[in-house]
Subunit: 475 residues, 2 copies
């Protein structure tokens, strides 16, 4: 489909592609770039014919900003929104002032046309519609910006932990443990399910399965991380996790990514400090490195996003126990949909009241009733609470959950039993408490919730490239 | 189990943990550290009682080197290999010269004992045995070093691509596509497999499954990456991938991590250049940042490792077509186990001959017969070959495989049909060629093979924390 308009100096495109400059590097260059003849490649956002010349707005995804190209009308004959082109031309100062430089095209080559049924014509599309074309939506302003910010947040995460001496652990995805303590799991199998092998009792004979037993997709890398923290001191995981919950909300995905640091020789206040430092470092990083994308979100997705982020960045995170929080909620005079009393889990409305109205900023709640928390959390001396923490931020509510882990062998064993979990599955986990046990703990952060927090994106399905939700596993 | 030996200055451990210094930071400090009183925490590697004083070798996993502590005999009463301790003491110059500094203990606290059945007593253990205690093996020299190098390689990967303007794409793990073009897949389900719903034909009724259709674990993020490269230009994935192959070799895992960069506006030579730059950058990075760990591997795992790595680092990667390689193999006079002729896939023995004997260094083979390569690779004009590449390195053989992708819509459609793949599953993939198609391509690197290449580790099961192989999904 590629045709040549004008003439490329080099005989083949292949010989010139390598010299291509990205839009971002041109727009960020100093003025010595003026007068240079360069090659840019990208996709046409808009093309306007002004009779004696034409304007092309080009994107190559490297930056939020498009790049303006001034072309001869003959060059744009078959160009339309979505078409891919390579353009050689001279960089000139942009008279408009909207951007620093633009290009006077000398030669333009159409690499790939874009027929008139291209779904992303220049108009606003609903996010619901865009999800049905998730393979094309990164070409939109919003999803391009989400992808760039998400990539930067991932990189900032690695930088943050690596610079503090944490080691990255890729914890296992397929697990033989069907009770990691958080929600419904997906089963993984290679058996022929149309005609599966059966035991004498008529149930599935999983001894014939790939791993010779039932296996599942992990819900958390934490238990793996504890094993590595018990050797390397400080580690973090960053990998996909899964929940087979039939939730059709804007806050749930069946497949999502989690970051789970785990620290040896650490108590709950140290874990809380790390969580605060980490969130602040992420905000600082994206404010510096994704300024254009965030300005777009601030204007079109969530008014006030930038002030919300800088507020969190500059606020000390208040520390408060769950018990104190309950007293505040009880005294608030507010009538909540879910009445609150000591022992109940906090709902989103409670978390947001505490964060948005009472503290007017981020806070870290600690020491929750043990009945509502996982078996591995460390018992406090009061006999009623465990050394858990949740980080609550305005607008989003809970963004991080963590705890100090029960490092006392016999206590942990009791807790496994009292939670009706099978002891034999946890022998290796108990070993970590038998040999050289240390105070340790960590937290988990759902990466897509973080993307929502940073971008203001309302629906979590728009915070990941190809969302997996009940009834939908396309692309 | 924790007892106190001597007296800690602070009343509680919790109050002091935060001031803990890691061994690596002490050993790398300048001499102003001498005379300071510091707290170190870690695990006892060895303890030796010399009557008037005692030596403790401590590790906290932050570095390969242990830290030597001189203690009073009374302090070590219940210490044994594997025990966890916190020690406060004065940093002094080490007289031995084996390391720069050591500590004169003032107070020592036993955090967690290590009973005499601790499996990692001071003796060599076989890697086979250590795999059965994968939760404890990161405490060994070898696995601690593997974990640190692996973490660094992951970080170096992110740095390399991010600094070149690539965006990180987390491609999807669960896929509805059962034919991504590479090997057997694991099925993912939430159906009750003991009593599954059936269709009228008696087969599994996957319309009742979580995603309302059959779903699988991904074998590659490439197709997702192509969608994002068609919007953001340059992207890379780094995530887990799966093969349900019943392979019991030292080179295969059922679950492994892959790095897959995908470049828009790129042809095969550009992809080859990127692969060469990337491998060299990784070697440079670990030689600088994991010197102690690599020295250990060089001494105990693979003699000559360091010279092999520096050789690859300093060699230009030879480019050669598959057809040229076949001619060389035919002329070699060598009798191979698998006879070679044009059209056949290269075996490890051929790859190693080309790399180790003919080129005496790394090489990149290109333009393979289309019959032995995947459907998405770009047809060359000769009608016989495709724009594929493999990177071969001494000792390991193939470490990277890649290609330029078929960007011509009608050609790709023909190839999908001729490979007997279901067209309807690939409509979205064809869309990438319908709207603004561009020359593009990329490569895939198996991360555990990279770890083997960098560390000299023989068995791939020792290059990942918790290996998943047929019949084994422990921890």
């Amino acid at each position: 489909m590629a045709i040549r308009c004008g003439k490329m100096k080099s005989p083949s495109l292949e010989a010139t592609l390598k010299s291509r400059k990205k839009v971002k590097s041109i727009l960020n260059a100093d003025e010595s770039i003026i007068g240079q003849t360069l090659l840019v490649c990208g996709w046409v956002r808009t093309v306007r014919d002004q009779k004696s010349f034409a304007f092309i707005e080009l994107t190559d995804g490297s930056s939020f900003a498009n790049f303006q190209i001034i072309a001869e009308p003959s060059m744009i004959e078959r160009l339309s929104t979505g078409a891919a082109i390579a353009v050689q031309g001279e960089i000139v100062k942009s008279p408009g002032g909207k951007q620093k430089y633009e290009m006077q095209a000398k030669e333009l080559r159409l690499l790939g046309t874009s027929p008139s049924d291209y779904p992303l014509q220049k108009k606003r599309h609903s996010f619901d519609f865009l999800r049905t074309i998730a393979h094309l939506r990164p070409r939109t302003n919003t999803q391009g910006a989400v992808a760039r910010v998400r990539s930067r947040l991932a990189y900032a995460t690695h930088r943050f932990f690596q610079e503090r001496g944490f080691f990255y652990l890729q914890s296992s995805i397929i697990t033989g443990n069907d009770c990691e303590g958080a929600g419904e799991m997906f089963q993984v199998t290679t058996l022929n399910l149309d005609n599966p092998p059966k035991t004498e009792e008529g149930t599935l004979d999983t001894s014939k399965d790939f791993f010779s037993k039932p296996t599942f997709l992990t819900v958390s890398g934490q238990l793996n991380a504890e094993a590595y923290a018990s050797a390397l001191s400080d580690v973090y995981t960053f990998g996909p996790t899964f929940r087979a919950e039939n939730s059709h909300t804007s806050r749930h995905l069946a497949e999502f990514w989690m970051i789970e640091p785990e620290l040896a020789f650490a108590d709950l206040p140290m874990i809380a400090d790390l969580a605060e430092d980490y969130l602040k470092a992420l905000i600082t990083d994206v404010l510096e490195n994704c300024a254009e994308d965030l300005a777009f979100f601030n204007q079109f997705i969530e008014k006030g996003l930038l002030s919300r982020l800088t507020h969190v960045q500059n606020s000390p995170f208040v520390r408060m126990t769950y018990t104190e929080a309950i007293a505040i909620l009880e005294k608030s005079g507010r009538s909540f949909e879910y009445p609150i009393k000591w022992g109940a889990d906090l709902q989103s409305e409670h978390e947001r009241y505490l964060s948005e109205e009472h503290c007017k900023g981020p806070l870290i709640l600690t020491d929750y009733p043990k009945e509502i928390k996982a078996f591995y959390m460390r018992d406090n001396d009061d006999g009623k609470t465990v050394a858990a923490l949740d980080v609550l931020v305005p607008r989003v509510g809970e963004i991080i959950g963590g705890s100090q882990r029960e490092e006392r062998h016999d206590r942990l064993k009791e807790k496994i039993v009292s939670h009706d979990l099978p002891l034999e599955e946890y022998q290796w986990y108990l070993d970590l408490r038998k040999y050289g046990s240390v105070p340790h703990g960590g937290f988990g952060l759902g990466f897509e919730r973080l993307v929502q927090f940073i971008t203001g994106i309302e629906n979590i399905r728009d915070a990941i490239a190809f969302p997996r939700v009940p009834g939908n596993c396309s692309f």
